[in-house]
């Protein structure tokens, strides 16, 4: 194929990446910049026309797997409107409120619960910043600490299943989504515990307040009230793993369940709330998945010129082992995650690095978890750390003033990432409990 193209891979990649970055600087939306970067190639190349661009975006959207994304968003939106969050705050407080830095511990634990229901970190950052930052300020926590812990705990939402990033990764790189869901559980919990340990140290050093221990009876009551909400992840993950439903179907079941729960059991959902949840879901689905289409066209052109192979030829010559390759992959995703949204990053960088992971014999699920965790950390690193920007905005602070605490909190999280790279058993333990072929 390469012999017959008008442009050689080098020129084509210079045009594509050059146009893309130039347009980003000019503040063209990422989705459109990706599409526009392909246009000159489709015009110049004899065998291609811009109709291929239209066709590639169509192929990307014509996917039953990606349909799970709006369903997961709708589940989270229904639960937010329907009063689930307040019940989970109560439960978290009864469980960990008596630890040093009680309210900040509740902040982390609520993120873990929320992560099991929703797959969206920005939604988590927005809703929890409104709950916690003002409350922590009143109890005497430093503002920069409050913003930092809210933002870094929000990233758990894309690591603990269900996760929108895992759906996109599994759909585009054909990896088992059930396997990814299982693989995310232990790394996500480890990162959550690392954050709780960080809060503990801060609270001891700075004398942050703590709550009296909840009575056994109170805790049991809080658990009982929250059980229906906490069933959601079990339905989604269980239904997928035991093969009752496909990923999309289990997401649809979650929507029906959340709707029934908020309307019939908790009775906090009205028609207005329902309309709001549907519309918000449509808006987010549109802008986020539209980007998948243009990123796919971009990725398709990279593959057409075999650019990933050319890029990796140099890297392959370094002779890396699996662990070195793991750190290299994490490094690339961390850097890209600072500048790009996670979904286009998966479409473009994931496909570029896949042959490298394969050549060093890395398990595709291990590769995916390294990528997703690294991209999740990118959500709190500037210049484009979305979760941090949201939290800082709600707290009325500048991002720069929170960076020191964010960096301190990231250190234990990086240690967990290093453990995940060095010991593939951490993510792979749960998926390997299931015989091959069942996931």
């Amino acid at each position: 194929m390469t012999g017959a193209t008008v442009l050689d891979p080098g020129t084509a990649s210079i045009i594509m990446f050059g146009v893309f970055f130039a347009l980003l600087v000019l503040r063209v939306p990422v989705a459109f910049a990706l599409g526009l970067a392909c246009v000159p190639i489709f015009v110049i190349e004899d065998r291609l026309t811009p109709q291929n661009l239209v066709q590639e975006t169509f192929n990307a959207y014509n996917s039953f797997i990606l349909l799970a994304v709006p369903f997961f968003l709708l589940t989270a939106n229904l639960m937010n409107v329907g009063g689930i969050t307040t019940r989970l705050v109560r439960l978290s407080r009864d469980l960990v409120g008596h630890f040093p830095g009680g309210l900040a511990q509740v902040n982390v634990v609520l993120s873990i619960f929320f992560a099991g229901i929703s797959g969206s970190s920005t939604a988590d950052a927005a809703s929890q910043s409104k709950i916690f930052i003002e409350a922590q300020r009143k109890e005497g926590y430093d503002d920069s600490f409050s913003v930092a812990i809210t933002a870094v705990s929000a990233v758990l939402a894309v690591i603990i299943p269900p996760s929108i990033l895992m759906i996109v990764w599994g759909g585009l790189l054909t990896v088992s989504i059930g396997g990814l869901f299982l693989a995310g559980i232990i790394p996500g919990l480890l990162i959550g515990f690392a954050q709780m340990a960080t809060v503990h140290v801060y609270a001891k050093l700075r004398n942050y307040p703590t709550y009296p221990r909840a009575t056994f009876f109170e805790t049991v009551k809080a658990i009982a009230v929250s059980v229906p909400a906490l069933m959601t992840p079990i339905i989604i993950i269980g239904g997928k793993i035991f093969g009752w439903f496909t990923a999309t179907e289990s997401a649809c079941i979650a929507v029906l369940y959340a709707a029934a729960l908020t309307m019939l059991v908790y009775r906090e959902m009205d028609l207005k709330g329902l309309h709001h949840a549907l519309l918000e879901t449509g808006r987010l689905t549109g802008v986020a998945l539209f980007c998948v289409g243009t990123a796919s066209a971009f990725g398709w052109l990279l593959a057409y010129y075999q650019i990933p192979k050319a890029l990796l030829e140099n890297v392959a010559a370094w002779g890396m082992g699996p662990i070195a390759a793991g750190f290299f992959i994490a490094g690339v995703f961390l850097v890209v995650g600072c500048f790009l949204d996670a979904i286009p990053a998966i479409v473009i960088v994931g496909t570029v690095l896949e042959p490298l992971a394969k050549s060093v014999g890395m398990d595709p699920i291990h590769f995916a978890i390294i990528g997703i965790v690294s991209l999740a950390f990118g959500l709190v690193t500037p210049p484009y750390g979305l979760c941090l920007m949201i939290s800082a905005h709600i707290a009325n602070m500048r991002v720069v003033d929170t960076l020191k605490d964010v960096m301190i909190m990231l250190i234990p999280m990086f240690l967990v990432l290093a453990l995940i790279i060095i010991f593939p058993q951490i993510p792979l333990f749960l998926p390997r409990l299931f015989p091959p072929g069942t996931l």
Binding site: R27, P29, L67, E249, H275, G282, V287, A288
Partner: protein
Amino acid sequence: MLRALTRWYSRALTWLLTASVAILIFPVSLQIFSRYTALIPSYIWTEEMARFFFIWSILLGAMVGIREGTHFVVDLWPALNSRAQAAIRVVASLFVLVFAFVFLWWGIDFTRFAFNRISELAELPLWYIHLPWPIAGVTWILFLGEQMWDDLRVVAGKARPPPLTGPEDEIRGSIT
């Protein structure tokens, strides 16, 4: 007059978007219930219908996203005054406009190409789901035209800039 039209049109698009998200739930639910209960026969068209409405939801959402300015942008500029910001927006809009023309022009070909074809399972005319591409092109041109007109008036100093939006509004385009 023209403004009333775009306002009315975007409201209609928003309603269509809400409706298509709501409709998505039905074929997928049908598919599950027909597999596990004997109440309804298992229809073969459910998956196809779900994908059809999914494609429409994505492009309707992308159209509304241009009007509401929620498409994800990377901002590398220092804080600028409102006139300079309006000027950058005009430049960025010009490029998006180019992309809108690509979608319109080749989207028409794409739709025409599918005129005589039907889908594999439900045997629906395929142009039903190719149609959103040219429609997206036209819609973007309309909305961008309105925004560029407003921004040019700000650049020329003839109008007050719109109220500043916080980062929370700007970054709604991301779901991760």
